[in-house]
């Protein structure tokens, strides 16, 4: 404590010299803090928002035959059980894509005009998405068998809208699509289907937030009429509840090999990162039924991929290895994410290395400053030795000055780094056009990184001052008085 007073007195006395020699330290630490936070921020966006690295998508192994791909393994219910038993896998959910053509029409109510587009859709078990969306109960198989009690329609007897309770089962209400009264027969949200001539609930769909990000950043211009006008930007709230028509079994590409095309209405009930990135996702029961209807019964249990949710990011490597050993492949996205993650890590490491280089140069500068200070203080060190300071006292005082300089330089470096990050975020928000997944901040400052920065600053200062401190401590007091 008493030596701390001496340290403080010396720091105040040499403040100018120390200030100039610590500029390098501040620059180095701020560079370190800035790039580590940038790397962390970008990696988080890439690996947690764009590619969810904790989710591994397994696909059947296939090989290329010049123009076609042939699968040599299948994803059936038995395969899913095997994948679920891999160590570190906490959840498994199979995905099944539409295997027939379909197109969708609609959009006027939110975009101002109708669009017709080819449908890309898949199905997942509703229970894995239900918890993620606000209207979770709406994402279910409405064509399933519902049991009920008593007689009547609606929720009071346990039936969904558009059904009547008959003999303990909810039966769809009949309707006539050609009748002008068809709207009053089927109460919203049900509608009168042309093929079944019954009231049907719209197909519940969920959309991936990626699609909304891509739409808001790029498609608002691309889908406009070309006269410079832009389609409105949309929010999740604006899209939830939006309905559109689908024709299953027919599209621009042609009609399905079997089964007559049917028309259905669909409704967006929520957003989920588990949904297909371009297109929409339905409860898997619908997809199973439609694939069987338009492609054949064998497609009812033929999954296209399986998502394995890992216990943590650390388990992903072991899980991917086990998946390959079982004869399956990983979706190309996973390899892409790994490559991108690696690139970000390498770039971050390069900048971290550069910042450490700056700090090292600064440590040399600090060493030079301390050597200079000690040469100036030669006589003073002799006085302190004469008054009872041991070699350890002298070493402690000088290293204490270095450590204090490290704390000050490190703290200032962190503040400069954070200020630079805030400036970049501000400039990005103000001047950089929106792009998919444009984050509010590109930086994530973790406490551990800030502590490391301070520790590195202290360490480099102490390393820089170590040799001068030892030289001062080993100085013979008598020589300190006689030599200048």
């Amino acid at each position: 404590m008493k030596l701390a007073r001496l340290v403080l007195q010396n720091l105040i006395r040499n403040r100018k010299n120390l200030f100039f020699s610590s500029i390098g330290l501040v620059v180095g630490i701020s560079t370190f803090v800035f790039f580590v936070a940038l790397g962390q921020g970008v990696q988080t966006v890439v690996l947690e928002d764009i590619f969810v690295i904790r989710q591994v998508e397994v696909v059947p192994r296939s090989f290329d035959l010049a123009i076609t791909q042939t699968s040599i393994s299948r994803l059936d219910p038995r395969a899913i059980d095997r994948l679920a038993s891999i160590d570190g896998v906490v959840k498994v959910y199979p995905k099944m894509k539409f295997t027939f053509p379909a197109w969708a029409t609609g959009g006027e109510e939110i975009l101002g005009k109708n669009f017709r587009a080819e449908v890309v859709a898949d199905g997942v078990p509703p229970e894995i998405i239900r918890d993620e969306i606000e209207r979770g109960e709406a994402f279910r198989d409405w064509d399933a068998d519902f049991t009920c009690r008593g007689e009547g329609t609606g929720a009071e007897v346990g039936c969904p809208e558009g059904r009547r309770c008959i003999d303990g089962h909810c039966t769809k209400l009949p309707c006539n699509p050609d009748s002008p009264e068809r709207f009053s027969l089927c109460k919203a949200p049900t509608y009168c289907a042309e093929d079944t001539r019954t009231c049907e609930m719209p197909l519940p769909t969920v959309v991936n937030p990626t699609l909304l990000a891509v739409y808001n950043s790029s498609l608002t211009t691309a889908l406009a009429a070309g006269d410079g006008a832009r389609l409105p930007k949309l929010t999740e709230d604006a899209i939830i509840g939006f309905t559109f028509d689908i024709e299953l079994g027919r599209s621009y590409l042609g009609t399905s090999a079997q089964g007559d095309p049917i028309k259905r209405r669909a409704q967006v009930v929520g957003f989920s990162t588990k949904a297909i990135q371009v297109g929409f996702t339905l409860p898997i029961q619908y997809v199973k039924r439609y694939n069987a209807r338009f492609t054949g019964e064998r497609m009812r249990n033929e999954y296209h991929s399986v998502i394995l949710v890992a216990e943590s990011n650390d388990r992903v490597a072991a899980i991917t290895k086990a998946v390959k050993e079982l004869g399956y492949d990983l979706d190309a996205k996973h390899a892409q994410a790994e490559r991108l993650g690696l690139v970000i890590t390498i770039v971050t490491l390069i900048f971290t290395f550069i910042s450490l280089l700056i700090v090292t140069i600064s440590a040399i500068n600090i060493a030079h400053t301390f050597l200079m200070i000690i040469a100036e203080r030669r006589r003073e060190i002799g006085i302190l030795r004469a008054l009872g300071a041991s070699r350890n006292h002298i070493r402690t005082v000088i290293l204490g000055e270095a450590a204090f300089l490290g704390v000050l330089g490190g703290t200032l470096g962190i503040l400069v780094g954070i200020a630079a990050a805030r400036l970049v975020d501000y400039l990005s928000a103000a001047y950089v056009p929106d792009f998919p997944f444009k984050p509010q901040s590109y930086f994530i400052f973790e406490t551990s990184h800030l502590v490391t920065a301070i520790a590195a600053a202290i360490l480099f200062c102490i390393v820089g001052a170590f040799m001068p401190a030892s030289r001062a401590a080993n100085m013979e007091p008598a020589r300190a008085f006689t030599t200048q």
């Binding site: 007073r5 009872g388 070699r391």
Partner: protein, 256 residues
């Protein structure tokens, strides 16, 4: 003005015991034998002057006595402890607790106040800070600089600086105070004041003073004078100390 001091008898305890001391500077052909087979005892309470011409080895002897230079041959004991056998830590503690140093050029730390300068030895001891501050205040009063306690050394005259240095040397109540040309940078009048202070402290605190000087008036104020020549003791005699008369020398004006 003159003053007398009790002459220590050989029975009085020895503070310093030097036997067969040799000191060399340089190596090979350039080796210079500066202290030659010197033996000496200094007793508690003595006010002793070491005199001699430049290069006679006075300051070298003082540095060796103070443990500031341990590159010697022979034996040097302070309070019964052979300096070369002590670890750096124990030697430092000995300097801190048993010795006081007063230099010709004062050697005060210019960036701290007089009071803080007096307290510097406390930084390297186990004494409490509050107690050290009290002791420093007592000493600054003892040397007559109470109103200068919070001034920096750059604001003081030479005599005042040397008073602060004396107070610092007395801080740990040392048994021996080593002074290297303590009046060398002072005018005659101030030198007398400093010598008077040495006498007073020698009486009141019982401290042993070893003064290295080439000034006959300073050595004349000491009870014992050892004359060195070419690294050897030429003479060692006791005398009745005579302090020069301060009244014949006008007090220099205080610096503004």
């Amino acid at each position: 003005m003159s003053a007398t001091a009790p002459t220590p008898t050989p029975e009085t305890s020895r503070v310093v015991e030097i036997n067969g001391l040799n000191k060399y500077y340089g190596r090979g052909r350039n080796r210079n034998h500066v202290i030659k087979d010197l033996s000496l005892q200094i007793h508690a309470g003595e006010l002793l002057a070491i005199v001699g011409t430049s290069g006679s080895g006075k300051t070298t002897l003082l540095n060796i006595l103070g443990g500031l230079d341990r590159d010697y041959e022979g034996s040097v004991e302070i309070d019964g402890q052979e300096l070369r056998s002590l670890s750096d830590r124990r030697l430092s503690r000995l300097r801190n607790q048993t010795m006081g140093f007063i230099f010709q050029s004062f050697n005060l730390l210019p960036h701290i106040t007089c009071l803080e300068n007096i307290m510097v030895p406390a930084y390297f001891s186990s004494s409490a800070l509050a107690e050290s501050r009290r002791r420093a205040r007592d000493l600054v009063e003892l040397v007559g600089l109470r109103d200068k306690a919070n001034d920096r050394p750059t604001e003081l005259s030479g005599g005042q600086k040397q008073r602060v240095a004396i107070a610092r040397a007395m801080f740990s109540k040392p048994s021996i105070i080593l002074c290297d040309e303590p009046t060398g940078s002072l005018d005659q009048s101030t030198s007398v004041q400093i010598l008077t202070l040495f006498h007073a402290l020698n009486h009141t605190e019982g401290a042993t003073f070893v003064l290295v000087t080439h000034d006959e008036k300073v050595s004349g104020a000491c009870q014992r004078v050892i004359r060195l020549e070419d690294g050897c003791i030429l003479s060692d005699h006791r005398q009745v100390p005579v302090l020069p008369d301060a009244s014949s020398h006008p007090q220099p004006p205080m610096p503004s």
